[in-house]
Symmetry: C3
Subunit: 210 residues, 3 copies
Amino acid sequence: MDSTTFLFIIEMIGTAAAAISGIRLAANKSFDWFGAYTVGLVTAIGGGTLRDVLLDIPLFWMQSAWYLAVTAMSLATVIMLRRQLVRSDRILFIFDSIGLALFCVIGIQKTIAAGYPMWGAAVMGVITGAFGGVLRDILINEAPLIFSKDIYATACLAGALVYWLVMLLGGGYVCQGLACAATVILLRVLALRYNLALPSLSAIPVNNNK
Amino acid sequence: MDSTTFLFIIEMIGTAAAAISGIRLAANKSFDWFGAYTVGLVTAIGGGTLRDVLLDIPLFWMQSAWYLAVTAMSLATVIMLRRQLVRSDRILFIFDSIGLALFCVIGIQKTIAAGYPMWGAAVMGVITGAFGGVLRDILINEAPLIFSKDIYATACLAGALVYWLVMLLGGGYVCQGLACAATVILLRVLALRYNLALPSLSAIPVNNNK
Amino acid sequence: MDSTTFLFIIEMIGTAAAAISGIRLAANKSFDWFGAYTVGLVTAIGGGTLRDVLLDIPLFWMQSAWYLAVTAMSLATVIMLRRQLVRSDRILFIFDSIGLALFCVIGIQKTIAAGYPMWGAAVMGVITGAFGGVLRDILINEAPLIFSKDIYATACLAGALVYWLVMLLGGGYVCQGLACAATVILLRVLALRYNLALPSLSAIPVNNNK
């Protein structure tokens, strides 16, 4: 198996994990199959779509029907294996983290390839990894989960920082990507285990004299 | 009257029907005139805008001021003829279905013209027809109606399937479009009459050990 | 100080005022630092981003890291000077209005430069000035404030009208921009002082026979 095939399989695993997370939340809103499929698809490809639109490059998921097909398989899985899903949270978390790491690396590398500086690539890494979930939460009419819990985006940001450091140190393309991905996964696992979170802002009283 | 003029008139009827549906929902949220106009406009042109942005082609509504003007007329109509509107639900439903069918066909044909395969065109047909309503519901802060009720998107999808079958059978451009549009309208009418809907997903219990 | 530097400083003041407005609302939702930063950034650059995507021109905030940096400084300010903020509502209102005026002028001028007619430029002036706030409200899961209160968008629209009139009268580029900006600021101040608002639509009863 060459590295392209390997990366493709990882990407599809990440796509399925993201789609299942979206479909589960859609199920809690009693959406129908179409609604659940759309929410799952947007969770899986929304971040990359936003990146491609912002960078003005061709949409990645319009180049191959696999993204739509994997989302359809994810929906079928959720419909048929509802009970088993609840017990496989740990596996889904691992798949989701691997997907997040890969999506983040892809976002960084596509942005650099489009000629933008590293800080722009870091923004696009975060968007690719974390904004599918933001769009998902907008569609199910909830405030975005990653804005108050979880360190999804922070993990991407730290990964981008490591990517940049390895690049400065003269590490190659593959080395940068692996270091970034490892950072993202490690931070997600540590955050889960030690219940790490960013500090919250507390409410600011409003001056009604405005 | 040539066919271009005929199609343009149908498109404006569909635009008005969509805008009125958005403005009515905005009225229920006590939005002001600007808010109602914006929600109406987004309902009417949002799906096509998303399609044009995703396909990276020029925005259709920036080529002609008619879309903005028809939305303004729709707002004026709702403000002045509130009472009569309630009694014209049946006419609005027919106009809305005709608009949906045309928007779906336009979405499919623009995507194929941009060089994408049929499955991509089907996605863009659904987006053009149904996502104005999704964006409308995001703006009025509700979960998208078409994710839990109505077979709006399913009708578009079936229309795209028929479009493809007629294309495979060697039917011409006009024939494909008419067959697709007829399918969309027929399914909408049947769904209303026999109360058809897609199955819903039921809530999935969450395992808190995650 | 040349005029480019002057305009840049005004733009950064407007960016900071918009970011602070977003961060304050995020704080009321108990978002964490990342969530607050994102909401602040989207409030500040969201309108211009939507404009650039719709016009298919390069994203303005990917050309300079200042927008991200000013948002970071705004977040630090809110975290450290919470109490003082409440008392500086008047200053923030002035900064916000100046920013709105400049954003509106920038939106109009970029659209005309892209070859669109004046009515398209007016739409983009409104989007640039007012839609950062709409995207902010979508992210914090509220119905957009400017759809039911405040004459944010109406001020932009009036500014665009004045821009057009001065253009028709043969006023130069700078003169058009200044007249437009003055109109926007004046209307905002008058609306605040005399509590002006657009009329609201009242709810329309639904006919259940549909």
